[in-house]
């Protein structure tokens, strides 16, 4: 490609124009349908992502019986909620929840590659695949957590869950203080992907 880095003054407008011209041409040729882009991205935007995990955690916080069912049979409990169809099926069948609290803090890793519960957590952060994180997460989880800003008391056990193709773990973090008056939806807004990986705590609204 010649003149590779010769840009117009307004690169954003130029790039947008090229993309739209490309899409229009592909649609006119019948290569893709007019809704192809939206259809494929819908998976990331509305079907599978951390918004699902946040809803699950918020329900577990307001409904202890649901929380119990969630850790006992995660797919069955998730099926109780009104989540998108992408939550069911092969991916969802392999998910398992572990709850923080009662003297236990949970951390999820994948020592083999980057197995991750996509339907509830979305895209993993860049460091999840990092060999150093994976190795240290097993060898010295407390030190790793400390570097993430999570100081786990000595009397609290740290459990490390190794995800695989067969089972993909996620954490139900502890409900933060001062949230008694929050609605389930407001509670869900507090939940971050990192807290569902166990590398962060959920901040109370005052501290958020």
């Amino acid at each position: 490609m010649t003149q590779l880095f010769q840009y117009e003054d307004d690169r954003e407008v130029s790039s947008a124009a090229k993309v739209r011209a490309l899409e229009a041409l592909l649609i006119e040729k019948g290569v893709i349908g007019s809704d192809a882009v939206d259809a494929v991205l819908q998976h990331f935007e509305t079907v599978a992502g951390p918004f699902n995990g946040a809803k699950i955690v918020a329900r577990a916080w307001v409904d202890p019986a649901f929380k119990q069912r969630l850790v006992e049979d995660t797919p069955k409990a998730i099926a109780e909620l009104d989540l998108s169809a992408g939550m069911a099926g092969a991916e969802g069948e392999h998910m398992a929840a572990v709850a923080n609290g009662d003297g236990v803090h949970n951390l999820i890793i994948c020592t083999l590659c980057s197995c991750y519960p996509w339907p509830v957590l979305g895209l993993p952060p860049y460091w999840y695949k990092d060999p150093v994180f994976r190795a240290r997460g097993v060898r010295e989880p407390r030190a790793v957590l400390r570097e993430f800003g999570v100081e786990v008391p000595a009397e609290t056990a740290v459990k490390v869950w190794d995800s695989s193709a067969q089972i993909r773990w996620f954490v139900v973090p502890e409900r933060p203080a001062n949230t008694d008056r929050l609605s389930e939806q407001e509670l869900a807004a507090l939940v971050t992907p990192e807290s569902m990986m166990g590398v962060a705590l959920v901040a109370s609204p005052a501290a958020a």
Binding site: A21, E23, L26, P50, P124, A165
Partner: protein, 127 residues
């Protein structure tokens, strides 16, 4: 284990040089066109016009070209400009579009006004 194509495609890039920007577990797009070019690449590969790995190699090459350019005159880093460059490369090399059709795309300077896409509502942020 069955994995959806969308997840396989995104996962194959994570931790590598061609990893897409993301924030809080979601893909991060600063502009609508970035979302659209990502979706176009996924749509075309999912439909079988090229292997996702072939696209990735084009993307890695496009990134390497930017990295190896002299500092003087080097444009600021823009992931999705390299992504668009890679998509045009693979679409051309796989014969999805002809040379003339690609030239038509390359000379586009302003958003088209009478196409399917122009009728779609625009969103500057999608996250």
């Amino acid at each position: 284990m069955f994995t959806r194509f969308e997840e396989y495609a995104a996962a194959s890039m994570l931790g590598a040089d061609d990893s897409p920007p993301r924030l809080d577990g979601k893909l991060f797009f600063s502009n609508r066109w970035e979302r659209d070019v990502f979706g176009l690449a996924l749509s075309l590969s999912k439909a079988g016009y090229f292997e996702w790995e072939d696209f990735r190699q084009c993307l890695i090459t496009a990134i390497a070209r930017w990295e190896s350019a002299p500092c003087e005159g080097q444009p600021r880093w823009d992931y999705y400009e390299r992504f668009l460059e890679a998509l045009l490369d693979v679409v051309g090399s796989r014969g999805v579009l002809s040379r003339d059709e690609l030239a038509h795309v390359m000379v586009a300077r302003r958003p088209a006004t009478a196409t399917h896409t122009a009728a779609r509502p625009l969103h500057s942020k999608n996250h």
